[in-house]
């Protein structure tokens, strides 16, 4: 015997359809939200990665400082380097104005974490510089 009223079946199908429409619409919203979140996450991740690269990489900071000291205008000076637990300091004595300009612009334009910086004019043309960066 056909025990189920066909209208009940239609109602059930309609209910299923409405449920699916609702589920789909929620899913669409969720998709959009997750997509936006992912875009933001990627942007944030890139930002954090670049910040980490700039300020959280010990090796990179050491390399950057060494590469500054290896600049042709600075290479000729006898630099003193000291590396402690989390910092590295350099001292260059009696360097000329050009070398001073190169050194200071390189340090201040880099992403090194400057902890201290000091210079003193020792004579008309010579300057002594001491810089300390955090690793």
């Amino acid at each position: 015997m056909n025990k189920i009223n066909p209208l009940y079946i239609i109602a059930l199908l309609l209910f299923l359809l409405l449920l699916l429409v609702y589920k789909n619409s929620s899913m669409q919203t969720k998709l959009q939200t997750v997509e936006i979140n992912n875009k933001n996450s990627l942007k944030e991740a890139k930002e954090i990665a670049s910040l980490k690269r700039a300020f959280k990489s010990e090796n990179r900071n050491k390399t950057a400082l060494n590469s500054i000291l290896n600049h042709p205008q600075l290479k000729k000076y006898n630099s003193q380097k000291e590396v402690s637990n989390s910092r590295m300091s350099i001292t260059l004595e009696n360097i000329d104005k050009k070398a001073f300009d190169t050194l200071s612009s390189k340090i201040f334009n880099s992403t090194l974490k400057i902890d201290s910086f000091m210079f003193e004019r020792v004579s008309e043309n010579n300057i002594t510089v001491k810089a300390e960066v955090l690793l």
Binding site: M1, N2, K3, N5, P6, L7, I9, I10, L13, L14, L16, L17, L20, V21, K23, N24, M27, Q28, K30, L31, V34, E35, N37, N38, S41, L42, E44, A45, K46, E47, I48, A49, L51, K52, A54, F55, K56, F108, T111, K113, I114, D115, S116, F117, M118, F119, E120, R121
Partner: protein, 337 residues
Amino acid sequence: MNFKYKLNIQERIEEIRERLKRQAEYKTIYVDKKTKSIALGKNERVDIVFSPAFYWVQDVKLPVKYEFQAKSLLPSLFDGILNKGNYSYKAYKKVSDFGKSDNWLVYAYDDTIISKKLDNLKINDSTIHSIYFAQSELDSVNAAIKIDENSALVKHENILITMPLSLTSETKDINEIFKLNKRSIQTININRYTNLPISEKSINVIAVTLIAFIGLFLTEYMINKNSLKELYTQRAKIAQTYKLPKTSFELNSMKKGLKKIASSQEELRAKTEFILNAPLEKGEYLLSLELKNSKFNVEVNLAEPKRAEEIKKYWQKEVSIKSMKVKDNTLSAKITI
């Protein structure tokens, strides 16, 4: 004994077993046009056998093997016999003592009439176990069958017909036959919903349309679900690639820390540049600068002491001067950011 015959015996055994099982469970009730009421116990389920008044039947030979093939021929078999109405058709292959024969019992019946009768007798669908026609259930009985005080069923050319009891001689009671003979497997399906506001065709169209839409939305849902899964994987990949912490709390604190470092370093550079760019005149120069913990100690050689005020004014635009003194044209200042 050949294999086919063996199978037939096995089929019959199964059939009998099934009948016995059903017989043990359900009472059989004969329903005629004259039946006014039926006494049923609470939660009792019954098998109902409808009298020949509720159907048209033919015993015919059909050149087909299966029921679905036979069914397509049925409307033409009853063409010209039936009154106007919506009829359902059913065909069963007759079973002889030697197995299935080529003869078919074909039925035509009006669902509405049967349905109305069931309604009049106040029989719910849940009460009915199965519905049969008298022809299938009493086909094996050759004697006249007494159905009430005035009527009997008799066979005429293999078809059961109702006759006045007075015209029959020896009769068997129908209830006794039902008790002794088990029900057949020739059940009838009744469409109880023939009086719906929309036609069956429309219902089918609506149902198919709804199913199609359900299919579409289900597919879309599954696609979206997969996309969502991919997006979550993508997110996990971002975290893995950029070595980000798992919780947003850790992530925020890391970001905050790094940004703080970045902004303080930016400020430090900007202020240093500002201090070093003090408006010095010819002959004036910086003697020394010491930067430590965001504090500056600056010494400037001035052309004349009163120049100190001009330099002070300039520095005060962006940094705060904690102390300042001038001695022998040398300006010494302690500055904080």
